[in-house]
């Protein structure tokens, strides 16, 4: 109910607040090499609904505050929560992320370094990345049990991304080091390809023009850990993605995901809404007494 109210409020704000817009990628898991514009703040809300065999389905959600510190550095804070149907709604932790563009100009392949610290409980179900031996059954326990386990992790990604003729190709190998319990490095991946539905912009402002839609597909999964690297006991997903960049700085994203093996959730439905606030840094500097 509250969630519906939130969405309705967001849409109402969108309806009365028409100005510039950003060109956002459609990915919900994969990263491309484009960072937040310097001084801009992007406020994002995402949901992940998943079916669950051996337990109740769940709806996990997270908020992202993404700030473009410079043209080559973006910093981000995540706040995660989830509702397991017939169980409870809980806050599951936070993540701090930094992305650094490594090369100053555009190349065929553009590398970006991603460094994230996570302090979450085992009840976290946003599935923003699949790593190690993450499998569906991990989410079957009750929240009361899962929230007893705490994860402090350092996550590193090498974002490799290329854009050619409107097509974006992105590959994100990732490595996660649990910082407690002496657990080994875990590994995973995310791949994405996407393209706007039209490459030329129309001369007039429009909401439903093809250029405002970006479609693609993502694939992500775990590839084991250091002692048992490989595909055994891992989960994998393929997910079509679509983003609608509205002419009001809002972006809507939708992605149905499908598990590719028996260890995966059979169905995921992710969606998100985000809005970019341009000039946020300058406004804050003025408020805090700077120039």
């Amino acid at each position: 109910m509250n969630f519906r109210l939130l969405i309705l409020s967001l849409l109402a704000i969108f309806a009365v607040h028409l100005q510039a817009h950003a060109q956002e990628s459609p990915y919900l898991v994969t990263y491309d090499h484009y960072l937040e514009e310097p001084g801009s703040l992007e406020v994002e809300y995402f949901s992940n609904f998943a079916t669950q065999r051996g337990g109740p389905d769940f709806h996990a959600y997270w908020m992202e505050l993404e700030y473009g510190a410079t043209a080559w550095w973006t910093s981000e804070l995540y706040l995660d929560g989830q509702t397991t149907f017939g169980d409870s709604t809980i806050f599951t932790g936070f993540r701090l992320e930094n992305r650094f563009r490594l090369l100053k100009s555009e190349h065929v392949i553009n590398p970006v370094l991603y460094v994230e610290y996570e302090q979450i409980t085992e009840a976290d179900k946003i599935m923003k990345e699949i790593e190690g031996h993450d499998v569906e059954i991990d989410h079957a326990e009750s929240n009361a049990v899962l929230r007893q386990g705490h994860n402090h992790e350092l996550e590193l990604k090498l974002i490799l991304s290329s854009t050619h003729n409107g097509w974006n190709f992105a590959v994100n190998p990732l490595a996660v080091k649990p910082l407690t319990g002496g657990e080994p490095w875990e590994f995973g991946y995310a791949l994405g390809v996407s393209r706007p539905l039209a490459l030329k912009a129309s001369a007039k402002r429009c909401t439903f023009c093809r250029e405002n839609f970006v479609a693609g597909v993502e694939m992500y999964g775990g590839i084991g850990d250091r002692p048992s690297f490989g595909l055994s006991e891992t989960s994998h997903y393929v997910a079509p993605v679509v983003a609608w960049n509205l002419p009001s700085n809002w972006t809507l994203r939708l992605s149905p995901g499908f598990g590719l093996n028996d260890n995966s959730h059979q169905f995921l439905l992710r969606w998100g809404v985000s809005r970019e606030f341009q000039g946020f840094g300058a406004t804050m500097a003025r408020l805090l007494g700077g120039r």
Binding site: A20, D32, A71, N98, V115, Q119, E153, T163
Partner: protein, 143 residues
């Protein structure tokens, strides 16, 4: 366990500190380069890229579409009328207007990351050419 968590925080703090120091340095170097023209990047464009022809030069909608794109993506820094803003330089000046379309396209594509201009290759090529058409259509500043 506590030691590991501390280690993680240190990594995060060091990462952020690295960024902050680098930002401070780039701000500092910006000060020392104050008299360096913000248009210097146009002179660094490779000859092959500078010679590129705008494929949308004769497209009657290109300027209007470019104007729309400019308002969406560029006006925040370069000003609504492209005569310069707090972060971005004036685009009506001679240096820009006399630059080849290929040079403007190259700067748009690659950005000037160290000076705060992001890469705009996320806009498809035709949209970048539409922006170039708009920028080249701008009248000279009134004196």
């Amino acid at each position: 366990m506590k030691r590991s968590v501390c280690r993680a925080f240190i990594v995060c703090v060091v990462t952020s500190a690295f960024g902050s120091v680098a930002v401070a340095q780039s701000a500092g170097s910006g000060e020392s380069r104050k008299d360096k023209s913000p248009y210097v990047e146009l002179s660094k464009v490779p000859a092959k890229a500078a010679a590129k022809h705008n494929p949308l030069e004769s497209d009657p909608d290109a300027v209007a579409a470019g104007s729309k794109l400019f308002e969406m993506h560029c006006a925040e820094c370069h000003g609504a009328d492209a005569s310069g803003g707090k972060k971005g330089p004036n685009l009506r000046v001679e240096e820009v207007q006399q630059a080849t379309p290929g040079s403007l396209f190259w700067v748009l594509t690659n950005g000037v990351v160290r000076r705060g201009m992001p890469v705009w290759s996320r806009l498809p090529e035709p949209q970048r050419w539409q922006l170039v058409s708009y920028i080249k259509s701008l009248p000279a500043p009134s004196r």
